[in-house]
């Protein structure tokens, strides 16, 4: 069961076509979301003094949801495609998920852009129920309808991938428990192990989202007075896991793609199995670090949060990073745009991960909580981590499907510009966090006016990042469209 080196082996034309569509959708949403991000930083830099702050908050809400949604779907599409080497997921369910996702994104866009719904991605209870004139009450309903549609269709896709894995592997085998017991056979690809762990956990996140929505309806209809602490717990159980698992799905892609460039297999060792089972055990509790400042939560819960955050991050990251380095070392590694993006993605994961662990420490969090340090760490492992990993997959696959031998022109320059823009933008977030600049402020109060200059510098770096993205994604989109046309003709 060794990993084939070609990304496109065993995939049907329909699956290839769907994956190219997912790639185009994710890239389009990514560009829109990056533009929104630029607007946010320019707003914080006082570039739009005549624009009402309510637009900042609705753009913030849309930016976060689109960015997280686009890359969750992108990584799901990548994993779905790569899993087809070992199992047979349903293309029809993936198409349904695409339809549902488009409807969900449209509804959320309507609620934020037309209805000015601006409560942030976390729609923290009970704020959405109290518009107080800032947004239209119908926008709350449209927003929740959009979220509900996304949750239902995503859950269907998640369960279908699990079903596909279950047709070939038992649960204990898919989780590598026989390897933990010392057995060497049968081999389980890391892709199957990490995907199984991720999908089980993301099911919990989507159930939590459904519960939150149901409790909102109960409270909004006056049938119950819901506990705010419960709602915050459930909201972050959903939100933290979705982001976390998007990253892990990206890492699953890394485990499957990197061997293609190194020419060496990456097998599920005891350490790999241990690390990802630790994730399965702990990831459900790590979200508690979002509630350190909620003093109504008992102290032992905060201890569980910090412990889970530490032990969740370390084994999986250590095994994956050292595994990547070992795989690359003296392997005659093939450096293409895709493989460079993969390696840069690992770097972003490590830097963002360290910043996350720092902030997940109660003593530090009491200073950094809700400062720009928070968006700094998650933008690092997202923008410079999982996004690069998934883009690497799309790049590699589109090249294979079009039979292209060469990278996009000036790939090295584009990558340099992308890293310069990305890390420059992130550096301003970190600097802002270290100088106590609060997050989610449309305009900064006198005490934190340093945030204005930082936002302007960050916006300049975002322009560089955006330039790199426009050049790179437009060329890759053209290649994806070519691949899509070829697959359609083949089917």
């Amino acid at each position: 069961m060794s990993s084939p080196t070609s990304a496109s082996s065993a995939a049907t034309p329909r699956l290839r076509r769907n994956t190219m569509l997912w790639a185009l959708l994710a890239m389009a949403l990514f560009l829109v979301s990056t533009l929104l991000g630029l607007f946010l930083r320019l707003f914080q830099g006082n570039s739009f003094p005549a624009v009402e702050p309510v637009w900042f908050y609705s753009a913030l809400t849309l930016h976060a949801l689109i960015m997280v949604g686009a890359w969750f779907l992108g990584s799901m599409a990548g994993v779905h495609y790569l899993l087809s080497r070992y199992v047979r997921p349903s293309s029809a369910i993936s198409e349904l998920a695409m339809g549902g996702s488009v409807v969900g994104v449209v509804l959320i866009s309507i609620s934020t852009l037309l209805g000015k719904f601006g409560v942030g991605w976390y729609f923290l209870f009970p704020l959405p129920l109290y518009p107080n004139g800032a947004w239209s009450p119908w926008a709350t309903i449209v927003f929740f309808a959009g979220l509900a549609i996304l949750a239902v269709f995503w859950l269907a896709w998640v369960l279908d991938l699990l079903r596909a894995i279950a047709r070939r592997y038992s649960l204990s085998m898919a989780l590598g428990w026989h390897i933990l017991r010392g057995a060497k056979e049968p081999e389980v690809p890391p892709l199957v192990l990490i995907t199984t762990v991720s999908l089980v956990v993301v099911t919990a996140a989507l159930v939590a989202a459904a519960l939150v929505l149901a409790l909102f309806v109960l409270h909004g209809s006056g049938r119950a007075n819901v506990d705010a602490l419960l709602m915050k717990n459930l909201t972050f159980l959903f939100g933290h896991i979705i982001v976390n698992i998007t990253l892990y799905l990206g890492v699953a892609i890394l485990y499957e793609l990197l061997p293609a460039f190194a020419g060496r297999p990456w097998k599920t060792s005891w350490l790999v199995a241990f690390a990802w089972n630790a994730v399965l055990l702990l990831v459900l509790f790590a979200y508690l670090h979002h509630l350190y400042m909620d003093f109504a939560q008992p102290r032992w819960v905060q201890v569980v949060g910090q412990t889970a955050s530490y032990f969740l991050s370390l084994p999986a990251a250590a095994v994956s990073v050292f595994g990547s380095l070992a795989l690359i070392y003296r392997s005659g590694f093939r450096w293409t745009m895709a493989s460079r993006l993969l390696v840069c993605g690992v770097l972003g994961w490590v830097i963002g991960g360290i910043a996350a662990v720092v902030d997940a420490t109660v003593a530090v969090n009491s200073v950094f909580h809700n400062t720009l340090w928070v968006p700094a760490h998650f933008h690092t492992y997202y923008l410079m981590g999982v996004v690069l990993m998934v883009l690497a997959f799309f790049d590699h696959l589109s090249r294979e499907l079009t039979g292209s031998d060469t990278d996009v022109p000036a790939a090295g320059w584009i990558l340099s510009l992308l890293l310069l823009g990305g890390y420059g933008f992130l550096a301003m977030f970190y600097y802002g966090g270290a100088t106590s600049v609060p997050r989610r402020f449309a305009t900064y109060p006198e005490e934190t006016l340093q945030g204005v200059i930082q936002a302007r510098v960050a916006a300049a770096f975002v322009v560089l990042l955006l330039a790199a993205l426009v050049i790179y994604l437009s060329r890759m989109a053209a290649r994806c469209l070519r691949a899509f046309a070829l697959c359609r003709n083949a089917s």
Partner: protein
């Protein structure tokens, strides 16, 4: 749940959203959020059997708990006062760190009415308890500043009013308790607040569903509540879904050789 039921719930939620009114009903007890840390007017009160004095004289040395009653009350006043008296037995009696002012809002009440009320709850000899009257205008000022209200019901010949306990420290309202009786735990939390202690949580006025934890203000300890079950539910549902997804295939087609399409 069937689709029509889900639709009905969503519709009910939508209707509730549209129908929200920013102002509460007139019969509602005062909302603590609206009055916290507001200054309490320094009105002149007349303690039974003592000369008149400004309120500030009572809160200057120690925090003050104020409750507003009328002695002819056939409703909540006496049960509330008795529960306050009982709560002080376990939470710490005045004057150890605080005083209690029972102020009449009924202009008909006299000093002897207030003494009788004190005797009625067994607090006549207790120096920590002060039973007092005040001028009608002073009472109105205090009521407006703290959200307390009272209305004469001619038919029942009674005042309609909520039962409240105002916790005042250095002339500012730091807690506002409402309810028919005050449990010792709630009084304990209020006293801890007044003493500068940290109270991590306390129950809201409305009944809250699905709490994660219950906090015992008297002991400072937590216990799990039904909301905690809802917190476990997503994880449990996910693992159950995984078991159910894998189980039938494991029986029927376990380890079937994979045929690439």
């Amino acid at each position: 749940m069937t689709f029509p039921r889900i639709a009905a719930c969503l519709a009910a939620g939508a209707a509730a959203l549209w129908g929200q009114s920013p102002a509460g009903s007139l019969n509602q007890p005062p909302n603590e959020d609206l009055y916290l840390y507001h200054s309490v007017p320094d009105i002149l009160v007349r303690p039974a059997g003592k000369p008149a004095m400004p309120l500030s004289e009572l809160w200057r040395e120690r925090p003050l708990l104020i409750t507003m009653v009328f002695t002819r009350c056939a409703g909540v006043c006496y049960p509330f006062l008795r529960s306050l008296r009982t709560a002080t037995e376990s939470a710490g009696k005045p004057p150890s760190g605080y005083g209690i002012l029972v102020l009449s809002f009924d202009s008909r009440d006299t000093a002897s009415d207030m003494k009788a009320a004190a005797a009625g709850i067994g607090a006549r000899a207790d120096e920590g308890w002060i039973f007092a009257t005040a001028a009608e205008e002073s009472v109105r000022r205090l009521a407006e500043a703290t959200g307390f209200w009272f209305r004469w019901d001619g038919e029942r010949r009674q005042f309609d009013h909520p039962a409240v306990l105002l916790a005042v420290k250095h002339g500012r309202l730091v807690r506002l308790f409402t309810g028919g009786r005050i449990p010792a735990e709630s009084l304990g939390a209020i006293l801890r607040d007044l003493a500068g202690g940290f109270v991590p949580s306390y129950p809201l006025a409305d009944k809250t569903s699905f709490r994660c934890f219950q906090y015992n203000a008297a002991t400072g300890s937590y216990s799990l509540d039904w909301g905690a079950v809802l917190l476990v539910l997503p994880g449990a549902a996910a693992f159950l879904a995984a078991l159910l997804t894998f189980r039938p295939w494991r029986r029927k087609c376990a380890r079937a050789p994979f045929q690439a399409a």
